[in-house]
């Protein structure tokens, strides 16, 4: 995990702005570590525990792993219904008891290296407008994050 106060402050400020704009319970950013290939959840807000700090995103597994693998956003409307794979393939949703999430990739240097994920602990649709907002915030985050 990177311990960069400037980066952390900027990211958390953006999280606050995002939460003012969209009604969400949880927001987190996973990003590839400077050394090695591991992708970990670097920052979170609205978390109910500290499990996210110990989770390493598995390539191709769960919401974040699939976003990194495909480079595409993923929407889960009502976990655990209509998911691909099993409940155990969704660690961050289990850890934070999320029901609806939307996750988008971060593309520094044209490769998916990170994931911005927003979630709610009840069933709630993320509107197209909200999805676009998250995509814009992800672009802002790309310029802040230390790679």
């Amino acid at each position: 995990m990177i311990n960069n106060t400037g980066e952390e402050q900027q990211v958390l400020r953006l999280f606050d702005q995002l939460r003012e704009r969209i009604s969400i319970d949880f927001v987190a950013l996973a990003f590839q570590n400077v050394k090695g290939t591991d992708i970990t959840w670097r920052y979170a807000a609205g978390n109910s525990n500290d499990k996210y700090k110990r989770i390493t995103v598995r390539y191709g597994k769960g919401v974040a792993g699939k976003v990194i693998l495909t480079g595409r956003s993923i929407l889960v409307e009502e976990f655990p219904h209509n998911i691909s794979g099993t409940v155990l393939d969704y660690p961050i949703m289990l850890a934070e008891k999320l029901v609806s999430v939307y996750a988008v990739p971060l593309f520094p240097f044209n490769h998916p290296k990170g994931v911005l994920l927003i979630g709610r602990r009840n069933k709630a649709i993320f509107t197209k407008r909200e999805q676009l907002d998250v995509q814009m915030f992800a672009e802002d985050l790309e310029s802040i994050i230390m790679i």
């Binding site: 525990n49 500290d50 499990k51 996210y52 110990r54 390493t56 598995r58 390539y59 660690p91």
Partner: protein
């Protein structure tokens, strides 16, 4: 009575067949596909040294990184299916799996082993390992806790294992009625000749307690 014995034998056979298949797939993933991917990974590194264009070099590095991630995932998948550490012993296999479990679900697992580890049959090790895996999966799914513990006690003719969490707990009677992970654990222990019990209290957590007699050397 006779029908029950036949059913048990069929269940044992099915479980044994499944375990052999899981081991075969895990070995194939680790030693077959994993090794081939590693070969490609090293070739990519070699090819990169022959590239002059910075863009192509960068592209090749990203491809190698992608390959490294895939190799890691294949390795983890193999460990989940059948941990190679099981060949060394029950405790090393549980420790290895607990490490993977923590990095996947963020739940810390404390492991305590007391007494002198005894020889345990291959099928006995597998039964206890699968129960442990199932109990941890239930903790990740339902317990809502950040830590769990596994206590293994070795006695001269018995091994006891307790998987405990201090999470939300559940209604034990209701859970046992369903075809759940609890029923699967109980079934495995019954077939393996061991005992199974579960305790849970809403708001206080739950514990799975199992024991397995050890085969005495003849």
């Amino acid at each position: 009575m006779e029908k029950k014995l036949v059913d048990q034998e069929i269940s044992s056979y099915i479980i044994q067949f499944q375990e052999e298949e899981l081991k075969r797939i895990a070995t194939e993933l680790h030693e077959g596909i994993g090794q081939t991917l590693y070969g490609i990974y090293t070739s990519l590194g070699f090819l990169e040294t022959g590239l002059d264009q910075p863009e192509m070099k960068q592209y090749m590095q990203e491809t190698a990184l992608l390959m490294e991630k895939t190799i890691n995932e294949v390795r983890m998948l193999s460990v989940e299916l059948y941990p190679p550490a099981l060949e060394i012993g029950l405790v090393p296999a549980i420790k290895s799996y607990a490490k993977l479990f923590t990095s996947t679900y963020g739940i810390i697992v404390e492991i305590e082993s007391s007494g002198t580890p005894q020889d345990i049959s291959k099928s006995g090790k597998l039964v206890l390992f699968r129960v442990c895996q199932e109990a941890l999966a239930n903790i990740a799914k339902y317990a809502g806790t950040s830590c769990a513990s596994i206590i293994i006690e070795w006695e001269p003719s018995l091994v006891k294992m307790q998987i405990q969490d201090y999470g939300e707990g559940f209604d034990l009677k209701e859970a046992l009625k369903k075809t759940s992970g609890l029923a699967a654990m109980k079934g495995r222990m019954d077939l393996g000749g061991g005992t199974f019990s579960a305790e849970s209290e809403i708001g206080k957590g739950s514990a799975i307690k199992v024991s397995l007699p050890l085969e005495q050397p003849s």
